[in-house]
């Protein structure tokens, strides 16, 4: 099979703000192979964005970060890499698509030249070639009439178009890995569907690895191959999209899926809710992070951290209680 392009191993991230410190990521590991889309799913505070962006040095200003563990892309270790080298890796190996395209583009410049600049800087193209590359990028991301759009300002384009430009911008350096951080959250339903379709297309056509960060289970089902479910900074379940969404094993994944209403599922049903709130990450208890809200929690869950156990190739679950029940059934 294809090789692993992106690997996070036992990553621990502490965030320090002036008044509190937070263990945002607590021993997360996952891998992505060339040409696959891995979705990182979780609610706010689960650490999904920090896990992927902090090793690249992309974090809000004013937050001090302490990173331990390993994050490798293409065999290169990102943790403890110096700022210069990291900037080069960011420009060549990674493309990042942010939630809000307007904030990632310079509103004073036309979109075409912004794209050409990326292509020129990271691929060393001449001005003329860079322009051609930019136009081809616009075409590849499904923007009609790319020659004309090249000369448009961001404010002249719609939200969906801008998200396409954002994706083109991320693809400009020909990255190995495309990180898409909630790429559809700010968009309308009909436009979301277009962007998910585009990401799928790009992944197939260009054999690129996509890390899709999202809280939207629908987006996972529509656009990903594998999924990693995070809760309060830890992986609770991992597997193929089909396995995890149709046969969730971890009680959190089960609760999360049950709380997503699906109007295609026929008769109206009461959304089942997960009681309570995610834990306060500045004061964490020793055991399973989900124990407080978990219907299956036992005494041992509150004391001992559950291991992420491998069930089969790529299928992992961090819940000894569920796994024991499962074995009992077989």
């Amino acid at each position: 099979m294809s090789e692993t392009v992106y690997a996070i191993n036992d990553l621990v991230i502490d965030l320090y703000a002036p008044t509190v410190s937070i263990r945002a990521v607590d021993g997360v590991s996952f891998h992505a192979k060339a040409g696959e889309t891995v979705a990182i799913v979780g609610e706010s505070g689960s650490g999904k964005t920090v896990t992927t962006l902090a090793p690249l040095g992309l974090l809000p200003e004013g937050v001090r970060v302490d990173l331990r563990g390993s994050a490798r892309v293409d065999g290169q270790e990102l943790i403890d890499m110096n700022a210069r080298a990291l900037s080069r890796v960011r420009g060549t190996a990674f493309g990042v698509v942010f939630q809000d395209p307007m904030s990632a583009l310079n509103p004073m410049l036309k979109v075409g030249p912004q794209l050409a600049e990326q292509a020129r800087r990271h691929r060393g193209l001449s001005a003329k070639d860079a322009r051609a590359a930019a136009i081809s990028l616009l075409a590849r991301t499904g923007i009609p009439d790319p020659e004309d759009r090249y000369n448009r300002y961001p404010h002249e384009m719609s939200g969906g178009m801008l998200q396409r430009v954002m994706i083109a911008l991320a693809l400009a350096p020909q990255p190995k890995v495309l990180i898409a951080d909630e790429p559809t959250t700010a968009l309308d339903a009909t436009v979301q569907a277009q962007i998910l379709e585009l990401l799928r297309d790009i992944q197939r056509r260009e054999q690129i690895t996509i890390i899709l960060i999202t809280h939207d289970i629908g987006a996972v089902a529509a656009a990903a191959d594998r999924v990693v479910v995070l809760y309060a900074g830890r992986v609770c379940e991992e597997g193929s999209v089909k396995q995890v969404l149709t046969e969730p094993i971890h009680p959190y994944t089960q609760g999360l899926l049950a709380s997503v209403p699906d109007f295609r599922a026929g008769a109206r049903r009461a959304a089942s809710e997960i009681p309570g709130l995610p834990p306060d990450q500045s004061r964490l208890a020793p055991g399973c992070r989900f124990a407080e809200r978990c219907p299956k929690a036992e005494e041992s869950c509150r004391v001992r951290r559950p291991d992420l156990e491998t069930l089969s190739e790529g299928r992992k679950v961090a819940c000894p209680v569920s796994l024991r029940e499962r074995k009992g059934h077989v």
Binding site: D188, T190, Q192, V220, A221, L257, R268, A270
Partner: protein
């Protein structure tokens, strides 16, 4: 019908001047009736006018023309005559609970304010009742909104809206700022409140699944107009307008087995700007089945198969091509 509708909107228009002479027609001739005791959903994408419509029902938005009647009374006159009485009948829940509360007021002060203004006889006891109603512990009373979680804040906002025992609650995207697992908690809260208190609820949302789950009747809007309406069950089972069909089709399913075999209706482009509304049928520029006449003839809302109505020249006609794959 003998019963008076809770809300009766007639040919309502809200136009904004854009400075350059042209007007943004945010709400452009909406007629809408919500029966007492209904849970009514208004869905559509950004710019369709759903929020403006909701705000004008309660008078938060000045209207250009048309009328709004609430439990049979003309809204504008009622508010002029007795603002407090109107406020005791209709209340509003905003999308962003933090933005709709004073950051310096504790939860107790937030809940107390409407009770004091309306000279409630026993504010202390009412606050206790409200907390019980929205399942909040008394420990939140002395906290500031910022120190609460998103779900707790939305519960406070709902409790405040319920303080004066209104008959009607208008909610503008009350769930979209919340995480999935918390959202389900608030959905269930709305459902419980409606059956316990017999409220009429109008909920504006862009999340179809939630509307499907809790609403009894639905209005679909596109560019300032109603394009389809009907009972939620019938409309979701049998969407008639090509826009409603595309909207339902666009929403990804959380079930990969459904996702796998599914063919989406992908609409071209984004919704047009309300500044330059297309001629004829407003949807014809993105419609997968548009005919030449759709660009010149503006369709009216008319009755369709599912018992509600749709604004489409081709709705329920025999030669109409099939667009829905699933």
């Amino acid at each position: 019908m003998s019963e008076v509708s809770a809300i009766e909107v007639r040919d309502l228009k809200v136009h904004f001047s854009s400075g350059s002479g042209s007007a943004v027609r945010a709400v452009d001739g909406v007629t809408l009736s919500v029966a007492a005791g209904a849970f009514h959903g208004i869905i559509g994408e950004s710019g369709c006018g759903k929020t403006t419509l909701a705000r004008s029902i309660i008078g938060l938005q000045a209207t250009t023309s048309g009328s709004v009647r609430v439990v049979g009374r003309e809204r504008e006159e009622w508010q002029k005559a007795d603002r407090l009485d109107f406020a005791r009948t209709v209340q509003f829940v905003f999308q962003d609970p933090l933005g709709s509360m004073s950051r310096r007021q504790t939860v107790r002060q937030t809940l107390e304010e409407p009770l004091l203004i309306h000279r409630h006889k026993n504010p202390e006891r009412r606050i206790e009742e409200l907390l019980r109603l929205v399942s909040l512990p008394a420990t939140v009373l002395d906290r500031l909104p910022r120190s609460l979680s998103g779900g707790q804040r939305q519960r406070v906002a709902i409790a405040r809206a319920l303080a004066l025992e209104p008959k009607i609650l208008i909610c503008d995207e009350p769930l979209s700022a919340l995480d999935v697992s918390i959202r389900a908690q608030i959905v269930n809260l709305f459902r419980r409140l409606q059956s316990e208190l017999g409220l009429t609820i109008v909920m504006v949302a862009h999340d179809l699944a939630i509307i499907r789950e809790i609403c009894t009747t639905v209005t679909v809007m596109y560019l300032g107009q109603v394009v389809e309406e009907g009972s939620a069950d019938a409309l979701f089972a049998n969407p008639t307008h090509p826009y409603t069909q595309a909207l339902l089709s666009a929403a990804p399913s959380a079930d990969p087995r459904i996702e796998e075999g599914r063919q989406r209706i992908l609409l071209a482009g984004d919704p047009p700007s309300p500044l330059s509304i297309p001629s004829g049928c407003r949807f014809h520029t993105r419609c997968p089945i548009a005919e030449p006449r759709c660009s010149t003839e503006a369709p009216d809302l008319r009755q369709v198969g599912h018992g509600g109505s749709a604004r489409c020249l081709l709705a329920d006609t025999r030669h109409r091509p099939e667009v829905l794959a699933q």
